[in-house]
Symmetry: C2
């Protein structure tokens, strides 16, 4: 199998699996228990918080562990809005966020919170102007993804942050797709809150984290919870969190090296598309935007994305038509539509995403399959 | 270390860990992805749903996987109340439930749902009379735990169910402590919904399940989620679910054998308490109630539970003062208070809970430590 869907989920690294296994054996106590079995689990949690805070350039007290990226987005956004005063109950987000952000905002909207959804420009970017126009005196929170899971487009958060800081508006970002892939620093980005997830960084599924700076006045959704400083009730998944943090540390060690490898593979793919005269237009062809190098969104002229994905699958190649969270639902993706493409073009969208185990050979197999698809069509 | 806190969390079995490891390697795809990597993960989910439904004597379509017991309780109760019509917005629960049940009800209460909390009788039992008195024409849901995590007292759910069925009131039970320990059958208990958790049955932390029968008119908290039929958004933790189900299957194979071993250890412990003339009164001394054999709640005369727990810990023995979820908070537990004991007695409560790896030797070490504590006191 050629796996080119790393943005949907990554395989677990040997090292992360080893840590998971060791902690499952040595630290199975409930981290809330006050005896040594609980204490050992709690020590791992303390270490994990410290390590993740160092990686994110934040404070250990700001790290709250969750069960994954979706829960992180939901808890961060709802808890922050829950903590903001009545005159700050307006929240702004974008049309291209992960569904979990919209889940949280739908729930808040039903509770009377005012929600504004802004559209990026035709390059997929939220500019200062776009954001500024949406700001209201009662705006309490803005949530903008760091990069999009389908297009790989990176938002200029550091440029947007000062606009919000000077108005004392809190800034949350969904960094699930960028964490471990490019530099993600709380300080540099200027955000107050962030969501990340374990299974995008070669750790097991089942863990995530919310970062919330000390000045964020969040209030929990469920009162009286004792775990994670009250943010999330339930036994803390220490083995998975330990594996998550071990995997994150590894990502950081290899960050530059992997980034270069990703760029090489991307460039090879783009060159070969042209060389083989394939009717595939990649978003990277338009270089007016910064993108993650390991996510390549493209349009396969004359083929529906769904068809290409399933055809590739017949050839043993896993690619995606966009966010796996919405797969099975055959409608143009908002992130792709936001690039001002027609519905017809948007339905031709496919996403190739690669990672640590990807090779030129994988790309060659994909290109070969694209060529076959074209031949099949011409022959038909 | 002598671990006698299995009710807080169990060690992971070699088999469950092996399954987790295999699935992490072979089925890392996102179960929502439509390619084969996703399909493989989805196949595991389908098998897991089927197997768990067989164990619980329910329908596979009624199984919804979650991240654990706490989330299961919260999602089950909130989603059911969310789906019930306006004239059915009254919910009844007991004072001795797990904190997660109360989290859910607090949230519902703030949304205008009427909540009644009933008290068990002095034997810790919710009788038909007690329940009947709380029923209102607008009662939509009753949630009663199958057994208490601190006292091990089992509620007579099968006797209560007909009262609710004839009034078309839905019945949910938190079976986190009983699942895999005693027979837990949806059919026999007569419940419509149930919560269970992975890390109480020698599986890794990180998975749980909600059962909801086909006739339960639940509505999700977050609209538009595609996973788990909309109940819970977020990438499904297939490796952990697979390990959970493998561990559950194992529990069922060894159910009677383990139950007998638990009873033997319990009886030995109770006999030895008397033989060694220890001032420890176990709830099992009063045999008017059915209890889980592996959970022994006792009162150590003259010692605060917190002190005994920490003293045991110095001797390398892990026991508990009650629910780990509330540990660190030094107040008498509601489940213990419900047994009509004084605050002073309730603070003397300790919980011993054993499992698959427990031995007579563990119990002897505990008893020896109790003797030492007594001697220290007399010597002081």
């Amino acid at each position: 199998m050629v796996y080119l869907d790393y943005a949907a989920s990554t395989p677990v690294s040997e090292e992360a699996l080893h840590v998971f296994q060791q902690l499952s054996k040595d630290c199975y106590g409930n981290a809330s228990s006050l005896h040594d079995a609980g204490g050992r689990a709690n020590d791992i949690l303390t270490y994990s918080r410290q390590s993740l805070a160092t990686i994110l350039e934040g404070e250990p007290d700001g790290i709250y562990f969750t069960s994954g990226g979706t829960e992180s987005n939901i808890l961060a956004i709802q808890s922050i809005m829950n903590g903001l005063p009545a005159h700050k109950q307006h929240v702004i987000t974008t049309s291209v966020e992960h569904p979990s952000v919209h889940h949280a905002l739908d729930a808040l909207h039903r509770l009377g919170v005012k929600v504004t959804i802004i559209e990026p420009n035709q390059n997929g970017i939220i500019t200062e102007d776009i954001l500024k126009k949406a700001l209201l005196p009662e705006t309490g929170l803005v949530s903008i993804q760091h990069a999009n899971s389908e297009t790989g487009i990176i938002q200029p958060l550091a440029q947007l942050a000062p606009l919000l800081k000077e108005r004392q508006i809190l800034f949350h970002t969904d960094a699930v797709q960028t964490f471990g892939k490019i530099r993600v620093s709380i300080k540099e980005l200027g955000v107050d809150a962030m969501s990340i997830s374990s299974h995008k960084v070669y750790a097991p599924k089942g863990a995530g984290a919310v970062y919330m700076a000390a000045h964020v006045p969040w209030r929990p959704l469920y009162t009286g919870a004792v775990q994670e400083n009250g943010l999330r009730p339930g036994t803390v998944n220490v083995p998975c969190i330990g594996a998550f943090v071990a995997a994150s540390e590894q990502m950081m060690l290899k960050l530059d090296e992997q980034h270069q490898l990703d760029e090489q593979l991307r460039d090879y793919f783009l060159q070969q598309l042209k060389k083989r005269q394939l009717p595939v237009r990649a978003l990277q062809d338009n270089n007016k935007r910064r993108m993650l190098p390991h996510i390549i969104g493209c349009f396969f002229e004359g083929f529906e994305g769904q068809y290409v994905m399933l055809a590739c699958n017949r050839y043993g190649i896993c690619i995606s038509t966009g966010s796996a969270c919405a797969s099975g639902y055959h409608h143009p993706s908002p992130a792709v539509k936001a690039l001002h493409v027609s519905d017809r073009d948007a339905l031709q969208f496919i996403r190739i995403s690669f990672g640590r185990l990807s090779s030129k050979d994988d790309i060659d197999q994909l290109l070969h399959t694209f060529e076959n698809l074209q031949k099949e069509k011409k022959g038909a």
